[in-house]
Symmetry: C2
Subunit: 409 residues, 2 copies
């Protein structure tokens, strides 16, 4: 049984080799100071764009180093279970080293993820309703074929592979005060802690979990790895039931703090990364910035790195996030009012909306509103507006013209 | 009057100084080989991400070098007219060199652009209904205050500034066979031609214009700069009425070819850049990749650079592009059919949809359909599905159960 310090040292030592190996197969992703987010967060914000990484997420780093080690030992194939970025990471890694990969996914996995995994040459097996079924199946397949099972986080080489982000950051911006790291199983946080607490012990490492899946926070509070019942989250990559044994040991001993973020905070960060930084982040990839923007981390005037860990968000989910963002920014407004049910009355309302450059997205009439006078209809209008100021002008002018309308908020 | 070769040489010479000056104030944007787009286009595709540039677009390069030159000459302020990326570029450049900037925008400019320009410290003047009005006003203000007017493209220093992209590319990937460049006024294409036709004459430079605004193509065909009547385009940054005199001279003499892209091709490229490359491009920024994906450029097995020139797309426009992309990829389907207007019939239909993991977005009943039997209602259901295969299964099972439904395409 090794001590936490020995474990940290092992990951640190292997991370140097990992850096040499992994960098041949991946993008050196950009890290940029963002003027916009610096202003919003009151500190120097540096974003590290692992969403622009091969396979769209940092997970490929750990997978590459693990598969490299396995190939050195003569392994002919690997098996993993994942409906997420680990699947694509292992598939890509296996293709780099010319061995076979079998990825077991729950039957509910999205077509996009299945196709992406297949596109790297892996065989995809759909099995069971939930992740646990797929994992059991993966172990079974690995046993039967003599392949190695690649765990998504609780593995020294996987942690050492994720740690290469820290080496890259040191080369790219050398010194900083704080780094904010999302925690799913804890592999990324462990790798980063191993490097930074050894060579830059001054740098604070802050973990982020969704409020809906705070397994590491709960485990640390109880003093032992604990299984929680997570709720669904936009940050699906961080929805894990339980930290690993190894990752718990490192994270609980070395992390400076863990904060949680709400679904609204995650959605807002996705929206802002898209609008301001022009990049697509998945929920897990936006969590670190969400934590920074929420003000839950004390970072005033410091140099802070937020990892944007991945960009594999389903575009139907993105579409919802954008619609909600436009609503909450007042770029789309819902107006509700009552109209005399006679010719020309809707036309008059639309004249006012057009005058302030509002663009109609939808109109619904409701003639079954119990509380209206019988010759009035309730009308709901969804409208795109230049700004929320224009919405106020529209509502005011409608009222001045005798139409009872209000903004639905 | 200088010859085209002399003009090219002048831009080339200044571009070297521009590279030294400009690089201090901007991001060195990443250029990555994209495995996905390489497979789709049958060549090695390298994407240069100027959407991740300061201000969200390459325009800041030309603005920086021009403003730098003006400051050297003692100018105290600059004026520009633009509702687009030039506005933010000039505003940012003026703030870098500590001089005043006044940007005239048409009254119809979007709030987002106005706010972004103000955030760099510029004064925004709203004037007139169209660009031409704003431009006249800008000249008038410049005259009155003794400020310099900064043209968006027809200017040697602006072209030399845009040319710095070519120098960066040479440093980043050294050699390539083809570069695809969107053409608005022609400043970017002129700058790139000046560098590449001098130091890498072997590299083909291909211009791209929207089918809706082919001013350079028309001008070259007629042999003289020609004013066209452009139609609106998703690539609003490329909607210009007429090339510049200088840019026409360089582009018409040195460009290898110009191709045009349709609105659908531009929309698809925006969608694909988001889904696959995880970056947000505006229409103009997606045009080069759109041209490559359309197969209109002969590039088989070559090393091809596509410039992603900017990312400043309004998120309401993006929302439409994404919705349309999801529809055309079959991730959202519109089903139409007729239902007996009796209790329980809609429920039966929804059971079938739920069975194949379809998620209802909208349901509309139409009881006024002339062609239906009176006890039937027309029902239109908008549904999110895992894949178009599932849509087929849903429609088949509905028909087997006696419901006449079809996919609306």
């Amino acid at each position: 049984m090794s001590t936490p310090q020995q474990l940290l040292n092992t990951v640190f030592t292997r991370s140097r080799e990992a850096h040499d190996v992994v960098s041949k197969y991946i993008h050196r992703t950009p890290v940029d100071r963002s003027a916009t987010f610096s202003r919003l967060c009151g500190c120097d914000v540096f974003l590290k764009y692992e969403n622009l990484q091969k396979t769209g997420a940092f997970k490929v780093r750990g997978a590459l180093f693990k598969v490299y080690q396995l190939v050195k030992k003569g392994v002919k194939g690997v098996v993993a279970s994942s409906a997420g970025n680990h699947a694509q990471g292992v598939a890509y890694a296996a293709s780099c080293f010319g061995i076979k990969a079998i990825i077991v996914m729950p039957e509910t996995a999205s077509i996009a993820k299945i196709n992406a995994t297949r596109s790297y040459g892996a065989e995809v097996v759909l099995y069971g309703k939930v992740y646990d079924d797929a994992e059991s199946k993966a172990y079974e397949i690995a046993d039967r074929l003599g392949y190695a099972f690649v765990h998504p986080f609780d593995d020294i080489d996987v942690m050492a592979g994720q740690a290469t982000i820290a080496w890259e950051l040191i080369e790219q911006i050398n010194d900083f005060d704080v780094i904010v790291v999302p925690i799913g199983g804890g592999g990324l946080a462990s790798g980063i802690l191993a490097v930074l607490k050894t060579v830059r012990p001054r740098i604070k490492v802050i973990g982020v979990e969704p409020e809906n899946a705070p397994k590491m926070l709960v485990s640390i509070k109880r003093g032992v790895p604990t299984t929680i019942t997570p709720r669904p989250s936009l940050a699906d990559g961080l929805v894990t039931k339980r930290p690993g044994e190894l990752t718990y040991t490192i994270v609980s001993n070395y992390i400076d703090d863990i904060v949680t973020v709400t679904e609204d905070e995650i959605a807002k960060a996705i929206y802002m990364l898209l609008e301001r930084a022009k990049v697509l982040a998945e929920g897990a990839g936006a969590a670190a910035l969400a934590a920074l923007m929420s003000g839950k981390i004390k970072v005033e005037k410091q140099r802070v790195v937020a990892l944007v860990t991945g960009g594999n968000i389903d575009l139907t989910a993105l579409s919802r996030v954008v619609s909600k963002g436009l609503l909450s920014e007042g770029r789309i407004a819902k107006l509700r009012g009552s109209l005399p049910d006679v010719p020309g009355s809707l036309k008059s309302v639309l004249e006012v909306i057009a005058k302030y450059r509002g663009n109609i997205l939808d109109i619904r009439h409701d003639r079954y509103d119990f509380y209206r006078l019988p010759w009035y209809a309730t009308v709901e209008i969804l409208v795109e507006v230049p700004s929320s100021e224009d919405t106020k002008r529209i509502v005011n002018e409608l009222r001045n013209r005798g139409f009872e309308f209000e903004l639905v908020e």
